[in-house]
Symmetry: C2
Subunit: 197 residues, 2 copies
DNA sequence: AAAATAGGAATGAACGTTCATTCCCAAATT
DNA sequence: AATTTGGGAATGAACGTTCATTCCTATTTT
């Protein structure tokens, strides 16, 4: 148990994520994933029942990493609703700026049948007072109670908050625009204008 | 030339669009597309050089249909920037409400390597004073000149305008929320708040 | 030495694409 | 008017390739 163990699993996840992000689901056959992970093809199947399970596994892994970053450093202390909103929203934008491959994977996943199934599972699970979803819900509900945020269904507030972030990230990654600090700041502030009462 | 001719091509496009929208690129082999189009497999290749060409062809077809709907009925007469904005934005939301399969295809396409290539081609083509892109650019530029719209790069204004629309459509189609007239209206109005100066 | 883990060649299913053939119909011929 | 002919459109069985998955051997760990 020196340098390797079941970091093989992590290597497989990373390799698959990168390949799918760069080339799509099409361009990520098991043989290539194994090669990039410096692992035998068979090894993949020691850790994942099949390729679908691997893909869903990548998504769960990513979810955990994003949540950790957004809520890590005592982010949820206090501050106005606007401040907390800008923190989350800007944090997400920053995370994807730093990890463009993660972004491309999430987008492909969420807009494929995998994503549909994934969402269905979430809905019929807990109403989630935990995790990212729960924290966001509380943020928006508090804002609505205080009359600071437009009284709209949560999914609509979500879309107004994160729709633009995801949309502009795509443009940035494709090179249609170069996002710098001031521009990112202006974008998330404009999102606040959309949801503020 | 009664009921059939080269509407075979249209049938192939429709069948492929539906299959990809419902089951992803994975779940749309040529054989299934042909079966749904009630056409021989070989026929696909009379109209499209290969499967990739078919997929890009679907996207072009769709683009034309959306453009036709958004700018058809003398939409571009006059009215305030806000009115014109609400018209376009709401029109897009409506189009996708009426054609959910079109929406799911576009999302999958745009977030795949096909979409990346597609965008690159557009950028290195004309600066597009024509079509949807041109009309939108004029709308936003006029708005900025008049001090009605925040002075931000066009891609940012685009993301603030259409990011939420695309985001909320996904939720609607997945059944996470049911969009009705008032809710759609509230959403596009909130988008205007995001971009208005 | 036994057990667990890793590896990659082997396998069969599924895929995109091709092509020899058939079908259809309009123009030419009788 | 009836028949023949020509050629483009349509077809699907057949092909070669690629893929996910299995399975048996080699290696490492206990």
């Amino acid at each position: 148990m020196k340098i390797t163990k079941a970091d093989k699993k992590a290597a497989v996840i990373r390799a698959a994520l990168e390949l799918i992000a760069e080339r799509g689901f099409h361009g990520a056959p098991a043989a290539n994933i194994a090669a990039r992970a410096r692992v035998g093809v068979g090894t993949i199947y020691r850790y994942f029942e099949n390729k679908d399970a691997l893909i869903v596994g990548i998504m769960h892994d990513l979810e955990a990493r994003v949540a950790a970053r957004l809520f890590d450093e005592a982010y949820l202390k206090d501050g106005t609703a606007r401040e907390r909103f800008l923190h989350i929203s800007g944090g997400l934008l920053n995370y994807y700026m730093d990890n463009p491959l993660d972004f491309r994977f999430v987008e492909q996943f969420m807009n494929s049948p995998y994503g549909a199934a994934f969402c269905r599972d979430k809905i019929f699970g807990e109403p989630s007072t935990e995790g990212v979803a729960g924290a966001l819900r509380r943020l928006f509900e508090d804002g609505m109670d205080g009359g600071l945020v437009k009284p709209l269904p949560l999914p609509v507030l979500f879309s107004l908050s994160f729709g633009p972030v995801m949309f502009i990230m795509r443009d940035h990654i494709l090179g249609l625009i170069t996002l710098d600090e001031p521009l990112m700041d202006a974008t998330v502030k404009a999102c606040w204008d959309a949801i503020k009462a």
